[in-house]
């Protein structure tokens, strides 16, 4: 019986094994890149909001504190989106006839809430709590980026679990003094390593086992 395969088939087989491994590696790499891409994570995507509200103007230029609007950030899991009433505190006095603000006035007039597009959206099985992060020295800009530079807010980070875990594994790298929580210009390099570890001890931040236990975030 004649040989079914030509002698070159040996090489083809060897090469195809190598190619398959390389291809699998490339596919894996592509998969992780796609999974982390802004296409899937929504990172850096500016969303069209019903009101052209600029954080750059209100925070950067006017210097309004985060907590003026996001009142619940220190007490609740949600930072809170301000009610129309909060907008009208100022805008019944200034820019009270600006066409940009018509949706706000309409909302107030007709008692219909403004429907904002959600920018930071965690999966429903992740139970993030703003208040405890504030209490443990995680600043706003650590997760949200420099909001004071964002005319339209976008998502600065991937909000994926691997990103959360960077900090939950080594919180000392990301914490800051309580006085600087709402400081948008804060740089992590402003503290020495010793100061960070001291801060971690002062805040009584729990162990890595505790912070990376599943039930810490998932219920």
């Amino acid at each position: 019986m004649a040989q079914v395969f030509h002698r070159a088939a040996n090489n083809v087989a060897k090469i195809s094994i190598v190619v398959a491994v390389v291809l699998a590696g490339v596919a894996g790499f592509v998969y992780t890149q796609i999974a982390r891409s802004s296409y899937l994570t929504g990172r850096f995507v500016e969303k069209q909001q019903p009101v052209q509200f600029s954080h750059k103007h209100h925070v950067g230029d006017d210097g309004i504190d985060c907590r003026y609007c996001h009142t619940a950030v220190e007490t609740s899991y949600s930072a809170g989106i301000p009610p129309t009433q909060t907008c009208m505190n100022c805008h019944s006095q200034i820019w009270s006839d600006s066409p940009y603000l018509e949706p706000v006035r309409a909302s107030y007039r007709e008692n219909k809430p403004i429907e904002w597009e959600r920018v930071h959206d965690l999966p429903e099985y992740a139970y993030f709590n703003h208040s405890i992060h504030i209490a443990k020295g995680v600043g706003c800009s650590t997760c949200h980026g420099q909001i004071d530079n964002m005319p339209a807010v976008y998502q600065q980070n991937t909000l994926q679990m691997e990103w959360c875990l960077q900090c939950h594994r080594e919180p000392e790298k990301y914490i800051r003094p309580k006085s600087e929580i709402y400081n948008m210009q804060w740089q992590d390099s402003e503290l020495t390593d010793e100061e960070r570890l001291q801060l971690k001890a002062d805040y009584k931040i729990r162990s890595q086992e505790m912070l990376t236990s599943c039930s810490t975030c998932h219920r």
């Binding site: 296409y39 009610p83 809430p113 405890i132 009584k204 236990s213 219920r219």
Partner: protein
């Protein structure tokens, strides 16, 4: 699959069942027989065929579906989350912080009695019911009905629009028509106007009705609901000459005799709470109370009783007389001669505890038994000590509800009723057959389709039920969580019902409907009605208002008033039981969460506290009362009564047939009003564990005599046509024989499935109310049979009857044999019951060897919080409240009857019932709440291929839903059988009402995911975050798991084991503390405190405690064998 051989030997097996015990503790008759089939069954995680598709899916289709789902599974990791909106308030209410729940005090009424509640509100949506720790009828606990009422509120089948002759109409139209008709009726003083309500204790409603009856002096107001206090009131009239309501102080009693009264399944959880004050065992209090029960159908009280006597219902009055005679009640003689030794010994025990004993008679016992119980309490010196009497809470206590209904029916029959207003209730369904208010009653002749006898019928109700169908107008009723109102607690305390949410549908409350009949100011909101009533009435008058409200009776006013004056209505000498005084022992005291309550300015008005008596202080007081949920010190004053022995001459009617039949309310759906509640339908009945059905109970002996459930068919071995049920060696309890049942000369009308119940007396059949609804809704319609069809107004609860086999049988979904624990070497590995005296002498009898060193894994030291739980089996009364509370807290779905038959119920928590002794005269059952044991060396974790179940640093056995791929290895490896798998998409993801109801703190699980008890990890996280923000440790008692906070028996205690002072750490040192299946070395965090039997040595049924060898010789041999 069981062998053919064992099937052929079925007759032998059956004899084995009836003669000999195979095991010390058994859950079902199958297990009792120690049948090989049962062993086979236990080895399977789910019953035979439980894992098959319910429809005939071919292999080809299966592969298609699998292929598609594999392809999709790969994609699911990269799905972009759908865009979401954020909708803030326009102007945010001051007290609402988004994400922070608020608790509002309110109250739920049943049978006229109000239990004080705290309703949890997430941004205005009620999501959980808790008990109000300050309210005398709750003290922080609730029962299954209050827990499940949340689902009722969100029920999409609730009535949503006003109907006129079945067509949609408006409140305006209704108001116009009804106003015109009332004005017509004013001419003759409303002689044709009749109101029918359920038991009303609401002071506002009573005042409104009084006003209406003043304006329409010839109108009449009747009250009827099937489960009422008629017998108690008639008994009081017999014994004392005037109606009275007994208030028991079980916390003060050391000996309790129940004459067919189920103390523990009452809506009034206070009695369970009180009972456990005297029953609780601790190192400091080794003397616990003793409970005797004489009853027909096994009840929770019978199950917990130290001595129980099962008797026929017809014997009960004579037995009561015999006990009265033994206690030395003057004039008592009896014809009952059986069980003389039992009665004598018990009577001596009661007498030895003079002033500290209670005799309590059941609601379904004839007045004679109640009268005798009153006389016995008086003879025992209990009156004033452990029993006090008050005026009945409802108006017209002199006329029994059944007589009120009878009068109404007579008036309808003779055509004198022109307008019938039915406020609440469902009399077209739940009235006795001879007084049924159905369409036939309203027909002038056979041709009459309209029911012209009563030209205008109006119905107010939560559902468009059987009664709505026969009424011209139907008005949707507001749920109590949507309306303002008031009612009285069991001791008369005025409780305020506060709405938590705007009505989901355009409903009206009973107060609003009643207001419509006023001459003036007829269009008012419930808030104004209730508030203005109290403004007029004043809170100071609340206790007295009761006495005067009784005099609003317009039917039998004359003799009622004379009795009012002759009975010295004295003011409350004893201190009304303020909750703070009795609360100290229970965990409810330390409730932190629910008491961060109220938006109605809690800081200004701390709970408790008296009201300001100043004249202008109403507004302040009103806010305080609404905030607290009740009017302080408004309990009814005690009434002085004195029993005369004259009634004892009245003859008792002996039974005139072989087979006696007893009617009882269903343990889950009550009188049928909760029939459309999926939580309650799927809740296993406490003793039979039956879901979704009502059955008729029969004793094993009688079943054998009548050849009921004795057949074994091939299909039962193979799992039946649906492949659903396990072979039933008891002869088909799961495949129950259907019979036709006759009682009082009437037929039930639908075949009745029979169920063999250990503990049932021979020749007595018990049937249950609440089923056979024809218009309940999507869930409750056409389930079971309607026992009201055989109820007669002169034989409401007991009678004689006959049954005849139809030859057919049916599948009954009982969870009794689901999730059995495989018992290793020793019987007490699972359940422990000790005789009290024996245990006090041998406190080390429960010693367990610690197998931790045998583990191959290194020991992990938990340095932070170390969560643990104890369950006191001596306290647990098996009332199921924890099961529903867990379901409500953790968004647990309902799966339906067919899925329950396949053992796929999703309850994270179940209450196992274990009998011991002989099947015809069992001891127990003993209850064992079974939930995730949070093992430190968890067998489930080691087998998960994807790390979906792992340990947390606090020792919780975390379940990570989004990692789970559904292999079910963990469930297979769990020796406690506490894991539940979503075989199908059980959650209702579409109904908008249910979205509002769910706990936002807990993930809503999808198909293909394993789930289990998490120790309410969301509550732990909440408390942990709050504590850390305040820079303090979590306080003991700050975290209450859902099951713990609801428990009326305070049986469940949760806390930090690393805090040596915590209650749970203390309880773990109790010598009764033990691990279930200790030799498997799972190191469970949930442990149990052994049940105790406080037996009386003089009793003929005294069981000598079996002396167990205190060593553990077999454990080592068996240790490696565990875990399958």
């Amino acid at each position: 699959m069981p062998s053919k051989d064992s099937k052929n030997n079925f007759a032998l097996l059956r004899d084995k069942i009836l003669q000999k015990s195979g095991k010390d503790y058994w859950r079902s008759v199958e297990e009792f027989a120690d049948a090989p089939e049962f062993e086979e069954f236990v080895k399977h995680e789910y019953p035979q065929h439980a894992e098959e598709w319910e429809d005939g899916l071919s292999r080809r289709n299966f592969i298609k579906v699998m292929g598609a789902s594999l392809a999709l599974a790969g994609l699911s990791g990269c799905v972009i989350q759908p865009a979401e909106k954020i909708v803030p308030y326009v102007s945010q209410p001051e007290e609402i912080v988004p994400g922070k729940p608020l608790y509002y005090a309110t109250a739920m009424t049943l049978g006229g009695m109000a239990t004080g509640l705290l309703a949890k509100s997430n941004e205005g949506r009620p999501t959980k019911i808790e008990g109000n720790p300050d309210h005398p009828q709750s003290l922080g606990a609730t029962d299954i009905l209050a827990q499940a009422s949340l689902l009722d509120m969100y029920d999409p089948d609730r009535s949503q629009e006003i109907l006129k002759r079945g067509n949609a109409s408006t409140w305006q139209n209704f108001m116009m028509e009804i106003r015109a008709r009332i004005d017509e009726n004013r001419v003759d003083g409303g002689a044709g106007v009749r109101f029918l309500t359920e038991t009303v204790t609401s002071p506002t409603m009573i005042a409104q009705m009084r006003q209406i009856l003043t304006e329409l002096p010839n109108a009449r107001w009747y009250q009827y609901e099937p489960i009422n206090k008629d017998n108690e009131i008639a008994g009081a009239k017999m014994a004392f000459g005037s109606p009275a309501k007994a208030i028991y102080r079980f916390d003060q009693a050391t000996r309790i005799l129940s004459l067919d009264k189920d103390i523990f399944s009452d809506f009034n959880v206070r009695y369970t709470k009180d009972y456990n004050q005297s029953r609780r065992y601790s190192e400091d209090k080794k003397d616990i109370s003793r409970l005797y029960a004489i009853e027909t159908t096994m009840s929770l009280t019978g199950a917990k009783a130290d001595h129980r006597l099962a008797v026929k219902p017809s014997q009960m009055p004579e037995i009561a007389k015999a006990i009265a005679a033994a206690l030395g009640v003057a004039g008592a003689t009896s014809t009952y001669t059986e069980n003389a030794q039992w009665i004598q010994a018990m009577a001596r025990d009661l007498q030895a505890n003079r002033g500290r004993s209670i005799v309590v008679a059941g609601d379904h016992q004839p007045p004679m038994v109640h009268a005798l119980a009153g006389a016995m309490n008086q003879t025992l010196g209990s009156v004033g000590a452990t029993v006090t009497y008050i005026e009945p809470l409802q108006p017209f206590p002199d006329v029994l509800q059944i007589d009120q209904l009878r009068t109404l029916v007579q008036e309808i029959d003779n055509g004198s009723v022109k307008m019938l207003v039915i406020i609440g209730g469902n009399p077209a369904y739940n009235t006795p057959a001879d007084l049924r208010l159905d369409m036939n009653r309203f027909k002038v002749d056979a041709e009459d389709r309209e029911g012209r006898k009563v030209p205008l019928r109006v119905h107010l109700g939560l559902y468009q039920n059987e009664t709505a169908e026969i009424c011209h107008w139907h008005i949707p009723e507001k749920h109590y969580l949507e309306s303002w109102g008031d009612a009285r607690a069991y001791d008369g305390t005025v409780s305020i019902i506060q709405p938590i949410i705007q009505p989901l549908y355009d409903g009206k409350s009973a107060n609003e409907l009643a207001q419509l009949f006023f001459r003036e100011n007829y269009d008012k909101k419930d808030y104004d009605i209730v508030k203005e009533h109290w403004q007029r009435q004043g809170f100071a008058g609340a206790p007295r208002a009761l006495a005067t409200s009784a005099a609003t009776n317009n039917q039998t006013q004359t003799n009622n008033q004379s009795q009012q004056t002759t009975n010295q209505v004295q003011l409350n000498n004893e201190q009304p039981r303020t909750p703070s005084a009795t609360q100290n022992q229970g965990p409810a005291t330390t409730v932190a969460t629910p008491m961060t309550t109220s938006p109605t300015n809690r800081a200004a008005n701390p709970a408790g506290g008296d009201l300001n008596p100043a004249a202008g202080a109403f507004e302040d007081n009103w806010r305080k009362v609404v905030h607290n949920g009740f009017v302080p010190n408004s309990a009814a004053p005690a009434k002085t009564v004195s029993a005369s022995g004259a009634f004892m001459n009245q003859p008792t009617t002996p039974a005139s047939g072989v087979l006696e039949i007893s009617i009882r309310p269903d343990p889950s759906v009550y009188d049928g009003r909760f029939a459309n509640n999926g939580w309650l339908q799927e809740l296993p009945n406490p003793l039979t564990k039956i879901t979704w059905d009502n059955v008729a109970l029969v004793s094993p002996n009688t079943a054998k005599r009548l050849e009921l459930n004795q057949d074994v068919k091939d299909e039962q071995y193979s799992g039946g046509s649906l492949g659903t049920t396990f072979v039933n060696t008891k002869g088909g309890n799961l495949f129950s024989d259907l019979v036709t049942l006759q009682m009082n000369g009437a037929e039930v009308g639908k075949p009745v499935p029979m169920w063999i119940a250990p503990g049932q007396p021979d020749d007595v059949i018990t049937i249950y109310l609440g089923y056979g609804r024809t218009r309940a809704g999507r869930i409750g319609t056409d389930l079971g049979y309607n026992a009201y069809n055989v109820q007669r107004s002169d034989a409401m609860w007991n009678g004689v009857g006959e049954i005849a086999k139809t030859g057919a049988n049916t599948a009954i979904a009982s969870t009794q044999i689901h999730f059995n624990l495989e018992s290793p070497a020793r019987a007490d590995d699972i359940l422990r019951v000790y005789d009290l005296e024996y245990f006090n002498q041998h406190p080390d009898t429960g010693h367990q060897h610690d197998h931790y060193p045998d583990s191959m894994y290194p020991r992990y030291e938990y340095t932070g919080n170390k969560w643990g739980m104890t369950v006191d089996l001596n306290s647990c009364v098996g009332c199921n409240a924890c099961v529903i509370a867990c379901q409500s807290e953790n968004n647990i779905p309902v799966v339906g009857k067919e899925q329950v038959e396949r053992s796929r119920e999703m309850h994270w928590m179940r209450i196992d019932t274990y009998y011991s002794g002989e099947v015809n005269d069992p001891d127990g059952p003993h209850f064992q709440p079974m939930l995730c044991q949070q093992c430190e060396l968890a067998p489930c974790e080691t087998v998960c291929p994807v790390h979906a179940t792992v340990h947390s640093a606090e020792g919780l056995n975390d379940m990570v839903y989004n990692r789970c791929i559904g292999t079910r290895y963990c469930s297979n490896n769990c020796p406690y059988k506490v894991r539940r798998f979503n075989f199908l998409l059980y959650q209702d993801w579409n109904t908008p009402q249910y979205k509002l109801m769910r706990n936002p703190e807990v993930t809503v699980r999808s198909r293909g995911v394993m789930e289990k008890c998490t120790y309410c990890t969301q509550r732990i996280a909440y408390a942990r975050i709050e504590a850390e923000k305040d820079d303090r440790p979590i306080r003991d008692g700050e975290i209450l798991t859902a099951c713990q906070s609801v428990c009326p028996a305070d049986a469940i205690v949760f806390g930090d084991l690393n805090d040596g002072n915590s209650r749970v750490a203390q309880l773990k040192k109790d010598p009764r503390n033990y691990n279930v299946l200790n030799l498997l070395n799972t190191q469970p965090r949930t442990t149990y405190l052994a049940n105790l039997r406080n037996q009386n040595k003089e009793m003929p049924d005294y069981k000598v405690p079996q002396v167990k060898d205190s060593g553990h010789p077999t454990e080592e041999n068996k240790a490696g064998d565990g875990g399958h």
